[in-house]
Amino acid sequence: MARFMPLADAVADNLRNGDTTAFEGFTHLIPNAAAHEAIRQGFTDLTLIRMTPDSLYDQMIGMGMAKKVVFSYAGNPGVGLLRRMRDAIENQWPRAIETEEHSHAAMANAYEAGAAGLPCAVFRGYRGAQLAQVNPNIRQVACPFTGETLAAVPSIRPDVTFIHAQKASRRGDVLVEGIIGVQKEAVLAARRAVVTVEEVVDDFAGVHPNACVLPHWTISAIAVVPGGAHPSYAHGYYARDNAAYLEWDKISADRDLFAAWMKTNVLDAGPDAFAQRVADL
């Protein structure tokens, strides 16, 4: 049952050292405010799952919070590489991390299977792709009717999923609109789910009957954080801060610059800073 609370409490109540966790958002509605709160609270040994780690996991990895990263595209979208993640993989800085790498199709199917309560996802994939040789979590099953060999990957079942959404109702139902990505699946696949939202409305009367809504009984905690997706965007609220993504390429290229930026913009800041960051977008 969804409970409204400050972001610091929502993160403290639901994330634990050593957890397997997903901060999901496919280019849109990326839960950056929640990630910053997790960084401030200093969790360690996390297994971070995300299709597109982007600057959010680059920051968490750079701060040494990750033991392992499960991903399918480790880029700064539209910009280039993830430099903190590279530094961890190539130079074990600030610590060594394990990686489990998939394709987008595999991870999308694995979230779907997690939401569907299945132990694995079955799909037509990885044919001729070398990942299948380096990742032991890519296996095969035979169709019992045609004999066709299909790929199988374990379903994703995070201990806790974090997402950002546009609206919560007073009862704690959550509305996600626009590019909805894998957020619904990531929430339903998880044991616990924390949602940051732009605003709270009375109810969803008048919303399209087939809109993407997560009922309050699928969510553990909701925190109202306007601008909480910045520098990502929130359809209907504010645009993407492209300059911030370009800037991240420079900040993340240097360990000291990274540390200074994190201190100023994350460690010494709070969730309230996000509203200001999107004020003119």
Partner: protein, 259 residues
């Protein structure tokens, strides 16, 4: 005729290969520009799909990522990412998958994963994203990339997505029913696979490009079709459309605040 850059020629040559009937799965960068130039010139009915779930988009500016708001706002509809990969890609609805590459070999196999060994990479690249299944589930694959000996190599470091493997009927032997790479457009030439060997061969050289230019920037010994033509230069309309698109895009992407 205006003068034009090799990059512009690459994008426009790729755009020409697309038609009104195509349903395109679009990657970012040159593929996205080519698809949108096609849409804004000879193929207004083309369907552009980005893996973020946007179907039938008509962006006014090129997206910075595959999930920009512009894509959703101009789309016919936007579906979840699992649905995108299950119903639309795996379901066989995509006529043309458009891929870029960090490394490619002569058979259209692509590496975007690592330079060096996978376990101890010299450079950790972003990885495959949608490419492994785009490469096998799309009815055919177009590839665009700028030529360089670092990028066009004798042997790629990692098979992120499968092209024609070792050539010949290698796809069929793996049970892959789709055509795979049928077109490679670089900044210097247009390449198509040999019908038998499936090795990419140059079928046309862009205006002013010599065979020596092509070989200098390619890490394998370049093969040529029997009749190598000259790529028709960009038309006024093509060039204006591309430049306007790039200008609108640059203006839009300059926005934002940073920290």
């Amino acid at each position: 005729m205006n003068s034009f850059t090799p990059n512009e020629m690459m994008t426009i040559a790729a755009a020409r290969a697309l038609s009104n009937e195509d349903v395109c799965f679009v990657g970012i960068g040159a593929p996205s520009a080519a698809c949108n130039v096609a849409r804004l010139t000879h193929a207004p009915g083309i369907t552009l799909i980005y893996e973020s779930g946007t179907i039938g988009t008509a962006p006014d500016v090129l997206p910075l990522s595959i999930g920009d708001g512009e894509l959703c706002e101009t789309a016919l509809t936007t579906v979840s990412v699992p649905e995108m990969f299950r119903y639309w890609l795996q379901g066989g609805r995509i006529t043309t998958g458009f891929l870029g590459a960090a490394q490619i070999d002569r058979f259209g196999n692509i590496n975007t994963t690592v330079i060096g060994p996978y376990d101890k990479p010299k450079v950790r690249l972003p990885g495959g994203g949608g490419a492994p299944e785009i490469a096998t589930s799309s009815q055919q694959i177009f590839i665009t990339m700028k030529q360089s000996t670092r990028g066009m190599v004798e042997k790629i470091d990692f098979y992120t997505s499968f092209g024609h493997g070792d050539g010949g009927d290698h796809r069929a032997r793996l049970g892959i029913a789709t055509k795979g790479p049928v077109l490679l457009v670089t900044d210097l030439a247009v390449w198509r696979p040999d019908p038998e060997t499936k090795e990419f061969t140059v079928v046309s050289l862009h205006p002013g490009v010599t065979r020596a230019n092509v070989q200098e920037t390619c890490g394998w010994k370049v093969a040529y079709a029997a009749d190598v033509e000259e790529t028709p230069p960009p038309t006024e309309l093509e060039l204006t459309t591309l430049r306007d698109l790039n200008e609108r895009t640059a203006r839009a992407h300059a926005a934002g605040k940073g920290s």
